[in-house]
């Protein structure tokens, strides 16, 4: 497909666990943990894709790997070029086209920099704007994210969470990127502020045709913002498809329990029975054999305990990796 902007193939992110002192003495090698394990993901130009999962699912590692903020193996093709094999100079050029927005906007802003300085630095590093034009460009960026020009002289400490996140978004937009990875950008925000920031993302998508990977633990948020959704569990993408399909007709038992577990404001309710999914996600350092979800899966079969699930394949309008859907189903 030629309108493909990001094509992730067989991406893995492995971390080496720190060794105990006893293991150091015995010169035992550190154990490895696969935070992301052979993920495939395709994002078309102008599309917003949501990446959903619980803590430890590897969704943040995947997002960071796309910008080479963490070492990874596999392929990340951006507009045809493999990002993971780029030299320093082309990497800088890549980061002019792809940017990241972080969860904790205060922690990702330098406390010593005024907001205006933080934005000006991006413009300088990427040599985007002539010196005398920088203040005007900073003002325009602040305006885009709905902040008054006076914020240029404020420091991050004096800002509320929502205002900080707007600055974080402005900084990402400074390079006029084509692709933005937003890692839980609204999770730390109150509901009324979350709605403001979601509206901002919607407007940016519409007006700038931004391509986005939106990482969140909140399926409701992702469904609202994204055209397609991928669901991760313990390092693997277990289901992927159109947002409505994932939200209303989930195929993978894990997606089903995720959708069921979402607290809803729905009345009248005969106090709907809260879902009975047992257990908690195991540590990614200690994955169960076979399908990683099998100890919690209500539909577990013998095959799930022994064999890893089949690779992700089409089931209806979505795609899933689950033993429940064995042979090729007609799309």
């Amino acid at each position: 497909m030629n309108d493909l902007l990001v094509d992730v193939r067989d991406l893995s992110v492995r971390y080496t666990l720190s060794r105990s002192f006893a293991d150091l003495l015995r010169r035992k090698p550190g154990r490895e943990l696969a935070a992301v394990d052979g993920a495939h993901l395709a994002i078309r130009k102008g599309e917003a894709v949501g990446l959903v999962g619980e803590s430890g699912s590897g969704k943040s590692s995947l997002g960071r790997a796309l910008l080479r903020l963490t070492p990874a193996t596999g392929e990340v093709r951006f507009d045809g070029t493999d990002v993971l094999r780029q030299d320093r100079r082309s990497l800088l050029a890549y980061r002019k086209r792809a940017q990241m927005v972080f969860q904790d906007p205060l922690a990702s802003l330098n406390p010593r920099f005024k907001v205006g300085e933080a934005l000006a630095e991006v413009l300088r590093v990427h040599r985007l704007t002539r010196r005398e034009e920088i203040p005007g460009r900073v003002a325009a960026l602040l305006d885009t994210v709905g902040l008054d020009t006076e914020f240029a002289d404020r420091r991050p400490r004096g800002l509320s969470g929502g205002q900080c996140q707007r600055v974080g978004i402005a900084r990402a937009l400074a390079v006029e990127p084509e692709f933005i990875i937003a890692d839980e950008p609204v999770s730390a925000l109150d509901l009324s502020i979350q709605a403001q920031i979601l509206n901002l993302f919607l407007r940016l998508q519409r007006e700038m045709q931004l391509t986005m990977l939106f990482i969140s633990h909140d399926l409701g948020v992702v469904h609202h913002l994204c055209q397609r959704v991928a669901v991760m569990y313990l390092g693997r993408i277990v289901e992927e498809g159109p947002a409505d399909e994932i939200f209303y007709h989930p195929k993978h038992p894990y997606t089903q329990s995720l959708v069921e577990a979402m607290p809803r404001v729905e009345f009248p309710k005969g106090r709907r029975e809260l879902p009975r999914l047992e257990g908690e996600p195991p540590s990614p350092a200690d994955k169960p054999p076979g399908c990683a979800f099998h100890p919690r899966c209500p539909h577990v079969m013998d095959a799930c305990r022994q064999d890893p699930p089949p690779s992700i394949r089409r089931v209806g309008a979505a795609a899933t990796a689950c033993h429940l859907y064995p042979e090729t189903e007609k799309a």
Binding site: A195, A261, P263, E278
Partner: protein, 327 residues
Amino acid sequence: MTLLDVAGLRTEFATPTRAVAAVDGLSFQLRPGEILGLVGESGSGKTVACRSLLRLLPSRRARIAAGTVMFENRDLMRLSEAEMRVVRGRDIAMIFQNPASHLDPVFTVGDLIAEPLIWHFGESRRAARKRAVELLRQVGIPDPAGQIERYPHQFSGGMKQRVMIAAALACEPKILLADEPTTALDVTVQAQILRLLLDLRDRTGLAIVLVTHDIGVVAETCDSVVVLYSGRVMECGGTQDVLTRPRHPYTRGLLDSLPTTAARGAELPSISGYPPPLDRLPQGCRFHPRCRFAIDRCRREPIELETVDDGHASACVRWREVMEVGP
């Protein structure tokens, strides 16, 4: 029958210049077996309110400036510290958002759960430990007898929360104050903990004050709800009444902000602006600078709660219009 009757509670914090009220004029009643939600955004005073009930605030900086909290014919705000210690944990227990920082890491979970039994009832260590196993089983921890010698850090987040609930329930309190008990948990684990709280209520008639920022959690679990904004009650009533027929622009705005209620990809009718800092509260209704219904009166004088329906009250002068106008 009312189990807990809170009236006109006002909690002040000292700042270098003057005292600011983090909670101002909070009133509600709690019946046995009722789950009441205290809902609000950060800084709304929901946690301070909850801690005020048990007088668990730093005494140098915070003080209860007004109000009564009647429990079994006694005003908790007027008890001596010694009397209060008997109430805490035995009659009214509390659980917190982050179990890891509220479970002492140097004690085994068996000791943590047994301690209140030994302290309040003078039970023997052996009897208390036996009871601890039973409590762990009640909160759904598998193989409870085998877990009792383990330490909190050996449990996952959801299991730690279960341990804290077990310790809170040890003395069979009549009221459980739960301060964001599921906020730090994954959504599938959150559902398990909420189900546990509902089961406990059904089995034992425990009354619960559930502090949360999540309206979905309120809708799923609470019988009644108090909506707080900047320390003031904006609206209160039965959960279904308040969430399906909100009579305050703030409640309405929160519901409109939920991405799940809007059409996919549609602009959310969000509340503009930000909540005011406590030391710079606006005159009149504290919500008026963000309110699209605000009129002159809202800017001049505080708006008191007014009954709008049976058991449903709103602190808005224009409550009749709140649902009639589009987003």
